[in-house]
Symmetry: C2
Subunit: 468 residues, 2 copies
Amino acid sequence: MVIDFIADYYNNIEHYPVLSQVKPGYLRHLLPRSAPLAAEPIEEIIKDIETHIIPGITHWQHPAHFAYFPCTASTAGILGELLTAGLNVVGFSWVASPAATELEAIVMDWLGELLNLPKPFLFSGNGGGVIMGTTCEALLATLVAARDRKLAEIGEGEIGIGKLVVYCSDQTHCAFAKAAKIVGIKQGNVRVVPASKTTSFGLCPDELVRAVRSDRDRGLVPLFLCATVGTTPTAAVDPLLPLCRVAREHDIWVHVDAAYAGAACVCPEFRHVIDGVEGADSFSLNAHKWFLTTLDCCCLWVKDPSALRKSLSTNPEYLRNQASDEGGVIDYKDWQVTLSRRFRCLKLWMVLRSNGVANLRNFLRSHVRMAEAFEKLVAEDARFEIVVPRRFSMVCFRMGVANLVNKKLLESINGSGRVFMTHAVAGGIYMLRLAVGATLTEARHVAEAWKVVREQADAMDVEGIVGC
Amino acid sequence: MVIDFIADYYNNIEHYPVLSQVKPGYLRHLLPRSAPLAAEPIEEIIKDIETHIIPGITHWQHPAHFAYFPCTASTAGILGELLTAGLNVVGFSWVASPAATELEAIVMDWLGELLNLPKPFLFSGNGGGVIMGTTCEALLATLVAARDRKLAEIGEGEIGIGKLVVYCSDQTHCAFAKAAKIVGIKQGNVRVVPASKTTSFGLCPDELVRAVRSDRDRGLVPLFLCATVGTTPTAAVDPLLPLCRVAREHDIWVHVDAAYAGAACVCPEFRHVIDGVEGADSFSLNAHKWFLTTLDCCCLWVKDPSALRKSLSTNPEYLRNQASDEGGVIDYKDWQVTLSRRFRCLKLWMVLRSNGVANLRNFLRSHVRMAEAFEKLVAEDARFEIVVPRRFSMVCFRMGVANLVNKKLLESINGSGRVFMTHAVAGGIYMLRLAVGATLTEARHVAEAWKVVREQADAMDVEGIVGC
């Protein structure tokens, strides 16, 4: 019944408004005030999901979902998740389910090789990969590892955590500043380097040098750089090669956050965007974003797993076991923030096998082509402007120069229920973002999206808005 | 096919050794060196799971899995997870899928009421609940909230994070010290109060007072107490009422970690174990442990959600939306460490409805009864000792007083493949733990477990071991 429900859901998905049209608090009066004393049949529950839950869903799997970044599902991903729930093992240490750990290590080497990650990031090169829930966790784990390594070097007592400085650009995802705050970096020591339209919103290495030197002059200690490949606002690419060079000079840990765009690197023609990654310490991408694996599946590779382990290991008596004591196994609990962990690699393994690398590449390429087509349509309409050159499968555009007009335009586009896009502001420019990436999106959906944009633009009283 | 596979798995589960018998590295030579270029049929993948993965699984769902704490699956839980994967929405903010947020708030109030949590922990009492992955995340989130509130009070500049002290007992889960380390508490400032057999391994309030006073005398600042209801080694219960009284006097945030045993509080007869929780600031339990909800599902309630939000909020332009700006909605990304989040409440809602409260209570009671039966069997055998009185569904026992004998006994029990138990050491005593809790466990499995223990004990050369 549930499988049928999901199959029907996908069959009907185009009939739903992409963006849920419910009002805040809609659900509370539709459900009972408390849990039922007696068991209820599954039929009742599924009926309630249809009637009460579906209207409150913003459909990320809708082919006209172009908002945020994609969060792709697929048959293999869903079935993998189902198997994970069915087996329901807790793979915190090797012995707690050896297959969960060993398959993860193997699949992370597979994917790392596909991305052409330098050997030192792979198990076969004495690095290794681990699957977490989200980039937030990857940032936390690497920040803590870098923090503790640095404090061990310079002496916690004398310098202290209050002197450590981390670096990013004003285009970096907010998850980074949040992670830095969590691990105790002073908010005044999160150095946000402005990126501008002249560098296509990439982080400028010279600006980084200036910031680092100024901090060192003031007696502060540079710790960590979060470089992004495919930023959230505009899919900008920070230049890894020169940034890593600067970082190495000042003994700064470099993490490359390729949450969305990293997947594209399985295609040889896009791999150049991470040229220079050999100088970084860690690299992550979210397979749940643009790689058909359901939420959540953040893949993190590090060159020095011992740095993670030194910070994140626990070895309580009640988890002691012979395999761990002998030291020949991976205990992933020591590589990550949490101890318990789901058997997440199963779905990634199934996505890789069930699609095959060739199809996965073609899938990503097809999204890029659709974005190119949309970019072309925008460029042909004199009212519109491509704000930054399209990268990957994302197009950033606006109508005229008035931010308020574009805000109103986006509201009316999303109010139509026919498509869902979100916005960004970079360099003071408010822009609409079309992020192609849902598994079911076809060229016709992108064409329809442009039609919606044009229709809403036609209907707008631009002068009235600008005048007011 | 996958549903059939899972059904067969449960039908055959008793034929598998509970503890996987594979050797480290078993899987790498069984799988190809890299991901396939062409798509592979699902039949192939399932065959590989049967042949290569299942032997490497330690079967947490096996009815003779008595190790660690239970991690219960159930039909409703698995189907809930399947639906979550099918819809695959990302509910970081209300607008990103209103139903995901609203259902979570409703279900957390339902469960909070079932546990008879004081009103201030519920949304209906201006507190509220949130679902995370694991207790580690709940500890991180509350520690950061408490830390930042304290630093705001006393001034970050003058005192600094280096002066903050956190408290627990030597029975507290290692996740707490790990979380404290992550948020920047000095390792020397994690105050581990020894608990002894005289207090049944509960944290003694007088000892806490002494530790807090000594820290204050040295100019340190008490911050946080992690009290546990149902510790990992022996299922001990820290006395919340007096501990919270001490904490209030010294302005210490109290978190109650009831990861395993909290579920029992849905039964009125067990509810007394959290008497005094009204004096705490936050409370968490893992519905994936002993409440039929598949991994992961950590339920956290706080009295003051604004403390979480002050520490964990992010408000980047690209996530701005009208509903959040107007302030009438919950954006759960601001209540937790990570931003992205799965639609986890769906499975908890399905578990509550599909079983009904009455059956859930009976389910928990049946496990407690089985543990009682095992305790009785142990007590009747003169060679054995119940180390601490049984609590909930866990029995801690040993054979004689020699730790090494018990270690060998456990090895031979687990080597049989017929049951899986783990051990703990408390007060210097090595003991075996039988934690009843798998969904399929029946009285006969517990009787069989005792039979295995006795057989292995009979076969042991105790004097040979003690002599060596």
